[in-house]
Every structure is written in structure tokens, then in C-alpha cells.
């Protein structure tokens, strides 16, 4: 830990207090989602639960973010909704990044027919508006955690293919790639050990920014009703359902909305910091 704070990387990252604030926010939220069952004031409010005596309570000491029209604590539900956002965000990247990276490396390195087939396929995916594509997929499949993740991944990998493709195109002419080649390195070695490590800074930065886009996308799907289905809490759905009670019972939409805003903002600030630290353009 001390080595980290004394490193050059940390020095560059910490030049902007906003990036540090972003990172801190992410860490706090991540921690909170992990221990949500322990700290949530009303864990039973996550599921099917109705409390007619306490419907539409304004924010207060008992209910930090107020309650919804079923009398459920919004703070608790936001904590649990964060779990979904985080999990789906990470899973989408876990699928889209490896797929995108492998295809990008192959297309960029070999060129020719491989290049044409892979890159034209990405063009097809990129030509469709991402939200519409995800909505189409979600409309066809059952809304579930797995299917949401799948739908978003399907439209996310082409961006990574593009990024890695462009980097590979320029890196394969670097002296050290040629040098590895003349020292008898295999293509696999060149792709994984020479080119890929030099893509990592751009990749990490893009992943940080993409976490915020994926979280927004999940919220958008939830907002139109294609996200997690009730009673599972979903930030987008909570905003959508609270709208009916605006402007009097404002807390029902505003707090879940703020929750989205803070997480998205945090990942963006963190991404900015990474970009400065790693000195890349994405």
C-alpha cells in the first residue's frame, strides 16, 4: 500500500483531486454493495413487501431516502440496485473485452480477409443504435440478469475490436515487434506479449469510461421496463415508477436518479484520472 502511494503512477493520478474523489466514490460504493445485506436498514424491503402504514414517507431518520408507494425503504432498494448495476457492468466488460480484444488483435495483425470479415462485422453492429439493439434483444428474451448482460455485451464488443484493431495496426510496425519477429518469436507471442501489453493503458482507460456507459445503459433499459423485473430493485425502473408521483413525492425518482448520477460521474472522473496517468487517448 505504501509503495502504491509513493509510486509515480499514483503521483500522476492524484494530480487531479476529482479523479481521486471518483476513485474513492467507486471504492465506497463497491464496498457498500458487497456488504449491503449487513448495512441495509430494511433488507426485507428488497423483495415482495407491502407496508400500507408507511407508504410515500418523505426522507427522514428512519427512511433516509423516503419510501415508495408500497411503503418500501428506497435507501435499501438503492443499495441493492447498485449490486445489479455493478455486477452487470463488470460482467459486460468481462465478456465484451476479451472477445473484442481477440478479434481486434487478429484483424489488425493479419489484415487481408481476416481483417475484412471481422471489421465489416463490427461495422454492422456499430451501424445499429445501441439502445435500440439492446431493446430488441431484451424484447425477444426474458428479462433476467443474464440476458441483460448478454444484450449489452453483444453491442459492446465491437468498440473494443475497433480500439485494439487501430492500436495493433500501428504497433505491428514498431521496432520491437519486428525485433521479436527476427528473433524467432511466434505470432502468438507477438500478439500476446509484444502488442497486447502496449494496448493495456488504452484498454484500462476505455474500460473505466465504459463502466459508466454500461451502467447508464442498464438504467435506460430499466427505465423502459426491460431491465430487472420487479420485485428486484433496478435504478432505472425506480426512476420510471417514481415519475408518476412527481413533483410531490419527489424522493421516489430523485434518489435513484442521483444514485445513477453519482456512480456514472465517479467512473468518468476515475477514467479521466487513468487517462492522465497512463497518458493515452481513447
Amino acid at each position: 500500500m505504501r509503495r502504491l502511494f509513493r509510486s509515480r503512477a499514483w503521483y500522476k493520478f492524484s494530480r487531479s483531486w476529482l479523479s481521486v474523489a471518483g476513485l474513492a466514490t467507486i471504492l465506497v460504493i463497491a464496498l457498500v454493495t458487497v456488504v449491503a445485506p449487513l448495512i441495509a436498514p430494511f433488507p426485507e424491503h428488497v423483495g415482495i413487501f407491502v407496508d400500507f402504514r408507511n407508504t410515500e414517507q418523505p426522507p427522514g431518520w428512519l427512511y433516509f431516502f423516503g419510501t415508495d408507494d408500497n411503503g418500501r425503504d428506497i435507501f435499501t432498494r438503492v443499495l441493492y440496485a447498485y449490486r445489479v448495476s455493478f455486477a452487470v457492468g463488470l460482467l459486460v466488460l468481462a465478456i465484451a473485452v476479451p472477445v473484442g480484444v481477440i478479434l481486434g488483435l487478429l484483424a489488425g495483425y493479419y489484415g487481408g480477409l481476416v481483417d475484412t470479415v471481422i471489421m465489416r462485422t463490427t461495422d454492422v453492429f456499430l451501424a445499429l443504435p445501441p439502445l435500440v439493439l439492446a431493446m430488441a434483444i431484451m424484447g425477444y428474451l426474458q428479462p433476467s440478469l443474464f440476458n441483460i448482460m448478454l444484450a449489452i455485451s453483444v453491442m459492446w464488443w465491437p468498440w473494443y475490436t475497433r480500439l485494439i484493431y487501430n492500436l495493433t495496426r500501428s504497433l505491428r510496425h514498431e521496432g520491437y515487434v519486428q525485433a521479436a519477429k527476427v528473433s524467432g518469436a511466434s505470432d502468438l507471442h507477438i500478439l500476446l506479449k509484444e502488442i497486447l501489453p502496449n494496448c493495456v493503458p488504452s484498454l484500462l482507460t476505455k474500460m473505466a469510461f465504459d463502466m459508466s456507459f454500461v451502467i447508464l445503459m442498464i438504467a435506460a433499459l430499466g427505465f423502459v421496463g426491460l431491465g430487472m423485473q420487479p420485485p428486484t430493485p433496478d435504478l432505472g425502473r425506480m426512476v420510471a415508477e417514481g415519475v408518476r408521483f412527481m413533483p410531490f413525492d419527489w424522493w421516489m425518482s430523485v434518489f435513484p436518479g442521483l444514485a445513477i448520477l453519482i456512480l456514472v460521474l465517479a467512473f468518468n472522473l476515475f477514467g479521466d484520472g487513468l487517462r492522465d496517468m497512463l497518458d493515452v487517448d481513447v
Binding site: 520491437y176 525485433a179 527476427v182
Partner: protein, 321 residues
């Protein structure tokens, strides 16, 4: 049998502008343990020759004809696997810019160990480290461990160059290709590079094919020289003969164009430029720039053997200087 022999090597590229016929029948030979230079202007095909010899023109749109024989076996028909068993083990290469030839994301040691392990000299990293340490000491690096643990950007140009020489020579190849070694560095470091390459080459009995545009380097380093112009060898001779009795008009012009330290005379530039390869001159490719050009130059020039390994591709091989 020569160690390396290219016979009538042609390389063409298909471009929008048409067929670019860059290498136009290159014949060169390197004997075991010999230091040979290929010299010529920028863009005359020197580096391309080296790349063709190492099979680096795959995945490009190059069309290659002719033959490249290494130790008696044909290289151009090798599979990728076959190439890999040659590259780094039997043929090493040294690049122009040493800092660009090291991967910035790994330490020097990691990269050097990989080369050693790949070359079959060691199986474990520990053993590779011993070999690397020894090899670096050989290149007059006093503190090998510091260099092995350093990242490339922490090395000076001279150190990086020595590391690269070590990488090229550590597997004791029979032939080393050096593409303008050290020309991205300042002259004193370049001088060191050449000395080191000569010393190590002699010690290992490795042949060196050096590619350069610097006649000073040729004079100092090589035993035999090929002068290349626009994708053809125009003259070949041992170093003394070439510098004292050059026969091809291009060789002479090249020698005239060298700046001198005395400062009495400005060098004489060669008029014109290296031709466009999509519409290269017919016959002798130098004739549009040649002061002695004549109608016969429209035909491919004969290669005249003047004895003692001195050959010149010109219709006027006896022309007085």
C-alpha cells in the same frame, strides 16, 4: 558453398499506381565469417533486401521471385515454422534505432531471457539470466544486473544498442544482419557499436551483412562491398579496390558525394533522384542520372568480371575515372 546467397531476387509490390518493381535481380553472397556491406542511397532497396532475406515480407502485398539460399537450403519456400527455427538462432538482426527495438512494457531482462530461451540455449529463467549476464559483460556492460532489471526507457542509446547487439548475438547465429546499426545514435556511440560488432563477430565466427548509406562505416567495417542502386547491385569488390578503383559511375558519384573533414571542397551531389519504381528506367536504372550514359544503356547492362572478385554492371566497365 556460401553461407548466404541470393540469386536474381526480385521483389514487386502491387500498388494503385501500378506494379512497383523494387528489387530488380539482386545477387549477393556472404561467406562464413565474412563482413560484407551493402551501400546505396536511401530508397534503393537495401533494407528491403534484408527483410526479404529474413522472410519479413509475408503478410504484405510483396511478390517475391528468385532464390535466397542459406547454408545450402532455400529460404523462400520455408513455412512460417521453418523461418522461426532460423530467425534468432541462425540469423540475428540488429536494428537502426535501438530504443525502438525494445518493448517499453517489459524489462530488458525479460526480453533478453525470452530470446535466450527461444533460441534453445536455456530452459529456465535462472539459467537464461546467467547466460544473459555473461553475454552483457562481454559487451563491456559493467553492471549487467542493473541493465537486466531496467526498463528500456531507463537506458541510454549506447546501452540500448549494446543490449540489442547482445540479443542478436547471444544465440551465436552464423549470420548477423545489421540494418544501419547505430545511425540513430551519435557518432561516438556508432563507432563503439561497430567496434563491438566486429569484435563479437570475429569471436563467434559470425558473418555480418551490414546495410548502410555511410561510406565511412563501409570502409572501417567491411571486407567486401556491394553497391546497390535502385534495386540492383551495380558493383561489387573488396573494400580497398572499391575505394581506390571504383568502376561504376554510380559508385564514383557516391564517393564524390561524401563530405570531407578537410573542408576544402564541397562534395559533389549526384544530380536527380532515385527513380519511381512503378516506372523505373529500362536497361541500366542509373542511366538517366549517369554522366556517361549512351544508347547501349537502354539494354540491361552486362555484368563484367574484372578479376579478384571485382564485378561491375556497366557497359563501360573500363571507363577511366
Amino acid at each position: 558453398m556460401a553461407l548466404l546467397e541470393t540469386t536474381d531476387l526480385h521483389v514487386r509490390f502491387e500498388l494503385f499506381e501500378g506494379m512497383s518493381h523494387v528489387l530488380n535481380g539482386v545477387n549477393l553472397k556472404v561467406e562464413r565469417g565474412e563482413r560484407v556491406a551493402v551501400v546505396g542511397e536511401s530508397g534503393c532497396g537495401k533494407s528491403l533486401t534484408a527483410r526479404a532475406v529474413l522472410g519479413l515480407l509475408r503478410h504484405t502485398n510483396a511478390q517475391i521471385d528468385g532464390s535466397v539460399r542459406f547454408d545450402g537450403s532455400e529460404l523462400l519456400s520455408l513455412s512460417e515454422r521453418g523461418w522461426r527455427s532460423i530467425r534468432g538462432r541462425r540469423i540475428g538482426m540488429i536494428f537502426q534505432d535501438p530504443t525502438a527495438a525494445l518493448n517499453p512494457t517489459f524489462t530488458v531482462g525479460d526480453q533478453l531471457f525470452k530470446v535466450i530461451i527461444r533460441g534453445g540455449r536455456a530452459r529456465t529463467k535462472r539459467r537464461a539470466r546467467e547466460i544473459a549476464r555473461e553475454a552483457l559483460r562481454h559487451t563491456a556492460i559493467a553492471d549487467p544486473d542493473r541493465v537486466l532489471n531496467a526498463y528500456p526507457f531507463q537506458l541510454s542509446g549506447g546501452l540500448a544498442q549494446r543490449v540489442l547487439i547482445t540479443m542478436a548475438l547471444v544465440n551465436e547465429p552464423e549470420l548477423v544482419l545489421a540494418d544501419e546499426p547505430g545511425s540513430a545514435l551519435d557518432v561516438t556511440v556508432q563507432e563503439q557499436t561497430l567496434r563491438l560488432m566486429r569484435a563479437l563477430g570475429d569471436e563467434l565466427g559470425a558473418a555480418v551483412l551490414i546495410i548502410t548509406h555511410n561510406l565511412g562505416v563501409v570502409r572501417e567495417f567491411a571486407q567486401r562491398v556491394y553497391v546497390m542502386y535502385a534495386g540492383s547491385i551495380v558493383e561489387e569488390a573488396d573494400v580497398d579496390t572499391l575505394f581506390h578503383a571504383p568502376r561504376h559511375p554510380y559508385t564514383r558519384a557516391l564517393l564524390e558525394a561524401v563530405p570531407r573533414l578537410t573542408g576544402e571542397m564541397l562534395p559533389q551531389p549526384i544530380e536527380g533522384v532515385v527513380p519511381d519504381y512503378t516506372a523505373a528506367p529500362v536497361g541500366c536504372r542509373f542511366h538517366p542520372r549517369c554522366p556517361h550514359a549512351q544508347p547501349a544503356c537502354q539494354e540491361p547492362p552486362p555484368v563484367v568480371d574484372l578479376g579478384g572478385g571485382h564485378r561491375v554492371a556497366c557497359v563501360l566497365p573500363e571507363a577511366a575515372p
